[in-house]
């Protein structure tokens, strides 16, 4: 049999590499800006488009989907061609994939600062962009499977299994979590409400970490670590066990993001148990990667690229040990809502994803330009800048997290909260936030150095767009292999591997969702909790637009420290009309679940809210919250309140029949009463049309129904 000569498409790899570098720089720069906003509100620049609430989702989306997303595609397109000994299935699909993904990122960069958001973390993009993501993801899968089907290598190496699992699981997560009812071109309401929405969102959110930030990178690690170390993976057997255990167990762990909330206890317990079980496959993968270097550790001393891999894998091991520990309820009680979680995710993002991406870029660019790296010294400097940056980032954030968690819970000997004013706990951690921004800046400077080095490397060589390779064609077996083990059989069959992976990742979701969606006792209703009035609904949409949920939670946990500070703990029945839920995941500011409950210490009158939104420093000296003067200046757009009420009715919110016809009238009656109160009681002249009036109406709805007897 004669060998076939064919070409690898390096141009698409180069394009994704460029996109990785550019979006990485953009995402990190936005990260430094948002980090600075948390110690100096001046950095909100008094502009509605760049407040923390709007920029934070831009930062997370830019890093996850733009920087890391493009890095995944770069690594997959490079390694898949070589592992299958085939050029990508279609150059046209490769181009559609590349440009489609970049357009989605640009759409995100435009819509998020404009306040066009669903509010669901890491899934903030509105429905037309969601559809575009699904289509482009299918193009990626089509191209990947087309390549696999026309391969010249019979066996599917374990890296490809991880790519297949990534493809199918991300598709499933994205489609299920994005179910929404559109009420206009760029506005929709989540199909799910309250506790059910929270469960679906954190099933998605946790598994976005698992199947976008972890499994594709494990696949890349299984390819690039042996390449860089020039030796096979430590244990191929372990990699197989690692794969199946990881994809099955990961999907169950989402509820650990909702401990002590009103999610049913059994679902929380499942989240904890599976999180602990996850240590085994996660560490199996990490050790398999590190032990690949056995007998070659001397290379690590001289090769900065291997250093990136080693520290990246170590960061993976640290965060996959810390994650399960954070899911223990006693640890979570202190850590949740604090900067501890921020430190944890950044060990993963900066350490695991960032350092592996840098290593892969340093490996791929010289390879496809057929040249050596321009400056090894610069690679080494980058490594130390990145490592120091991570340390300067994470250590202050751990201190900050411990400080916050403990201050929130501390009582005096007399049984009073030692720090009853939430702001005291915020001001205490300002120096930590400054250090964190410094750490992020070091990491950013390192990335700039890398871009310069890679640019110079590319300039010193020329791109081998179509890299020639040769391999024997794959002969289709006509004879059925008898006695072959079922797993050996599946290792050569991508479709079956896809189906088995889908089954493995579906089980956890089904077991958690079915009872929560079907069984009444899991979401108990409260008779006197009423739907939002039209003005409150508009105020809620302003709250979502401004991204208030990025800093304020709406979930009082059943701890004495929280019920004393905020009021009665939250119940699932309070949120049955919340499309989407707005529980948040971080308390940069205090919880607002009882902001409208007159018996709560959190209750403030309309005059206070007016002044606070105009400039938070008027009511709360030293506050780091941005000012929102445009809420006072801008008129609310209530032109589609009819559609909003209709949409809510479609989703099951019990407005009376035909209510949408006089919703606007009701809206202005309520707006007039707030405006009159401000004028008559506080001497504040504010027109009833202004956005601030709607926002005050919404804040005064939060927790109000709990007091009704």
């Amino acid at each position: 049999m004669q060998k076939e000569i064919f070409n690898y498409d390096n141009k698409i790899v180069r394009n994704f590499a460029i996109a990785t570098a550019i979006w990485g720089i953009v995402g990190m720069l936005v990260g430094i800006i948002v980090a600075s906003q948390l110690f100096e509100p001046y950095f909100n620049f008094n502009s509605k488009y760049v407040t923390f609430g709007r920029l934070r989702p831009l930062h997370t989306n830019a890093i996850i989907f733009a920087f890391i997303g493009n890095a995944i595609f770069m690594g997959v397109y490079y390694s898949l061609q070589r592992l299958t000994k085939a050029r990508m299935y279609s150059d046209a699909l490769s181009k559609i994939h590349f440009w489609g993904w970049q357009l989605i990122i640009v759409a995100a960069a435009i819509t998020l600062p404009l306040g066009i958001t669903t509010s669901k973390e890491y899934a903030e993009l509105e429905w037309p962009i969601d559809i575009a993501i699904a289509l482009i993801w299918v193009v990626f899968g089509w191209n990947m499977f087309g390549t696999i089907y026309k391969r010249r290598e019979k066996h599917l190496y374990v890296a490809i299994w991880f790519y297949i699992a990534t493809f199918i699981t991300v598709a499933m997560l994205h489609i299920v979590n994005s179910f929404a009812l559109p009420i206009g071109f760029l506005k929709s309401y989540s199909w799910y409400a309250g506790v059910q929405d929270a469960l679906v969102q954190w099933w998605y959110g946790h598994n976005a970490v698992a199947f976008f930030l972890t499994t594709p990178f494990l696949g890349l690690m299984y390819y690039f670590m042996p390449k860089m170390a020039n030796r096979p993976v430590y244990s191929y057997r372990l990699s197989i066990l690692h794969f199946w255990s990881l994809i099955f167990l990961y999907i169950w762990a989402g509820p650990h993001h909702l401990l002590y909330t009103s999610l049913p206890g059994w679902a929380q317990t499942l989240g904890v148990i599976f999180s602990i079980m996850l240590i085994a496959p996660s560490w199996g993968g990490m050790l398999n990667g590190l032990l690949t270097l056995r007998g070659a550790w001397d290379k690590v001393r001289d090769d900065a690229v291997l250093k990136f891999m080693v520290v990246g894998l170590t960061a993976y091991g640290m965060s996959t040990f810390e994650g399960p520990m954070l899911s223990l309820k006693n640890v979570n009680a202190i850590a949740h809502f604090t900067d501890w979680i921020v430190a944890h995710v950044h060990i993963g993002a900066l350490g695991w994803n960032g350092l592996l991406t840098f290593a892969i870029l340093y490996y791929i660019i010289p390879e496809i330009y057929n040249v050596s790296i321009y400056s090894k010294k610069a690679v080494s400097s980058h490594f130390w800048l990145a490592t120091l940056g991570i340390l300067f980032y994470a250590i202050p954030m751990y201190f900050s997290g411990f400080t916050q968690g403990l201050m929130w819970k501390e009582f005096t000997a007399e049984g009073m909260l030692k720090y009853p004013n939430f702001l005291e706990t915020t001001l205490q951690i300002i120096p930590m936030h400054m250090l964190r921004a410094f750490g992020g800046t070091l990491y950013f400077i390192g990335a700039i150095l890398m871009v310069w080095n890679l640019f110079k490397t590319a300039k010193s060589g020329s791109l081998v767009s179509d890299e020639q390779a040769e391999a024997y064609p794959l002969v289709k077996e006509k004879v059925v292999e008898k006695g072959i083990h079922w797993h050996r059989w599946i290792e050569k069959r991508p479709t079956q591997l896809l189906i088995f992976s889908l089954i493995a990742v579906s089980i956890g979701g089904i077991v958690e969702f079915v009872p929560t969606f079907l069984v009444e006792s899991n979401v108990q209703t409260i008779p006197h909790v009423t739907p939002y009035s039209p003005l409150e609904l508009e105020g809620r949409d302003i709250y979502i637009r401004e991204g208030c949920n990025n800093c304020h939670s709406q979930q009082v946990r059943p701890f004495r420290s929280e019920t004393v500070r905020y009021g009665e703990y939250s119940k699932s029945g309070e949120n049955v009309y919340d499309h989407p839920f707005l529980w948040g995941s971080k308390r940069t500011g205090p919880d607002l679940a009882r902001a409208g409950n007159i018996s709560s210490k959190m209750y403030k009158d309309a005059g206070w809210h007016y002044q606070h939104m105009k400039d938070p420093r008027i009511t709360s000296e030293g506050s780091i919250m941005p000012a929102y003067p445009w809420l006072i200046e801008d008129d609310g757009d209530y032109s589609n309140i009819e559609e909003k009420i209709q949409a809510m009715s479609t989703l099951g919110v019990p407005y009376e029949d035909g209510y949408e016809n006089y919703a606007l009238e009701d809206l202005y009656i309520q707006a007039d009463s707030i405006s009159s109160f401000l004028r008559n009681e506080k001497g504040i002249q504010v027109d009833k049309d202004k956005e601030i009036v709607a926002l005050i109406a919404y804040l005064h709805k939060l927790g109000r129904d709990i007091n009704v007897k």
Partner: protein, 54 residues
């Protein structure tokens, strides 16, 4: 959302069946790994190292 039902009879079976499936697959895969041919393992593990034919 659709109307919810009062309870699902034997709902706990869901979890037990799910765990059983995992355990059976885990044990079956582990057994396969034990009996896997050494040459096959070595051959497959070396795949990333033989791809650059240039």
């Amino acid at each position: 959302m659709g109307k919810m039902i009062g309870f699902v009879d034997g709902a706990s079976v869901f979890l037990i069946v799910a765990l059983m499936i995992f355990l059976i697959v885990f044990i079956a895969v582990a057994f396969y790994l034990l009996i896997m041919n050494k040459e096959t393992v070595a051959e497959v593990a070396a795949l990333p190292l033989e791809d650059n034919i240039r």
